[in-house]
Amino acid sequence: MRMWPRRRGRGGCAPAVVIAALLSVIVVPAGAQQQARPAIQNEGDKQLIAVLLRTTLIALHQANVTGNYTILRDLASPTFQQRNTAADLALVFAPLRRQNIDLAPAALLQPQFAQAPVIDQGNMLRMSGTLSTKPVGVDFDLAFQFVSGSWRLSGISIARAKAPGGR
């Protein structure tokens, strides 16, 4: 099951539609249609990716355990905030919350990226892969937008890992 922040007024979306909803919160600057490029060019980039992944999943975990999604929303890009209230996020992540999947180990687990993180044509930082949380692993797919000097969350999907045992 995949969960994406939805746009207001859109509920129960099929995955493809939900992906469209995610893309709809991505701002593509004019003239930024260059090829996707690797996001990790040096050790500093590698550390940045690790920090973004871990801190985002920690924020989601703490939102799930408290039922308070305001910080997760506040950390997101302005466009994401405009299109998703904290209540929207609480609804989107309700299934994950009910499954009691503990994302806290994301603070120390090494992710297995499905493909190397990239900066896509829209200048969005994209990373996807798997974390071997217990008892089930989780697949993640995150997007970040560069806003005023920092990367802000613009899309997030967390789901039970497809691979048995979460790899």
Binding site: R54, I71, L75, A104
Partner: protein, 182 residues
């Protein structure tokens, strides 16, 4: 709640002295020197608690939203404080704009061995070699319904912690060292 267990909320944020800053939020009842037990907490648990709590403080600081940090606290703490109290306590740390996120990458450097004291409080004391300014932290946690909830947080910039620290001795050894200096 028994009167003896009534916990007071203490905010002691000391202003900037040189580059040093202290943001201190603690339950008054926990300020006494703890009685250390011989039970060491699980190392993964300790790392997770340290990293997730410091990240929660950082995210509260950069957003100005302390509601999740407050929600994550032990009930006794929440009853005695509100989010405005936390915002006030961490204002100096927030204004210093310290980036605490490297905590998720750096190995914990505990200056005291993590221990669960006689009051079943888990205490984590150490430093984080963040750039450009290292920080020192002291965190306390209590078990609530099977999970650890923070009950005290102290984070301050600590330029003096920039040098690689010596391996932290167990608390008893530290006491012995201080006695030998007298």
């Amino acid at each position: 709640m028994p009167r003896g267990k009534v916990l007071a909320f203490v905010i002691a944020v000391v202003g900037v002295v040189g580059a040093a800053l202290i943001a201190y939020v603690m339950l008054a009842g926990q300020q006494a020197q703890p009685q250390r037990s011989a039970i060491p907490p699980d190392s993964d648990l300790v790392t997770i608690l340290l990293r997730t709590t410091v990240v929660a403080v950082h995210q509260a600081n950069i957003t100005g939203n302390y509601t999740v940090l407050h929600d994550l606290a032990a009930p006794a703490f929440r009853e005695k404080s509100n989010t405005a109290d936390l915002a006030l306590a961490f204002a100096p740390l927030r204004q210093q704009k310290l980036d605490l996120t490297p905590v998720v990458l750096l190995e914990p450097n505990f200056t005291q061995k993590p221990a669960i004291d006689g009051q079943n409080t888990l205490r984590l004391v150490g430093t984080l070699q963040s750039k450009p300014v290292p920080v020192a932290y002291e965190l306390a946690f209590q078990t609530v319904s099977g999970s650890w909830r923070w009950s005290a947080i102290a984070i301050r910039s600590a330029p003096q912690a920039a040098a690689p620290p010596a391996p932290a001795p167990p608390p008893s050894a530290a006491v012995q060292d201080r006695s030998a200096e007298r």
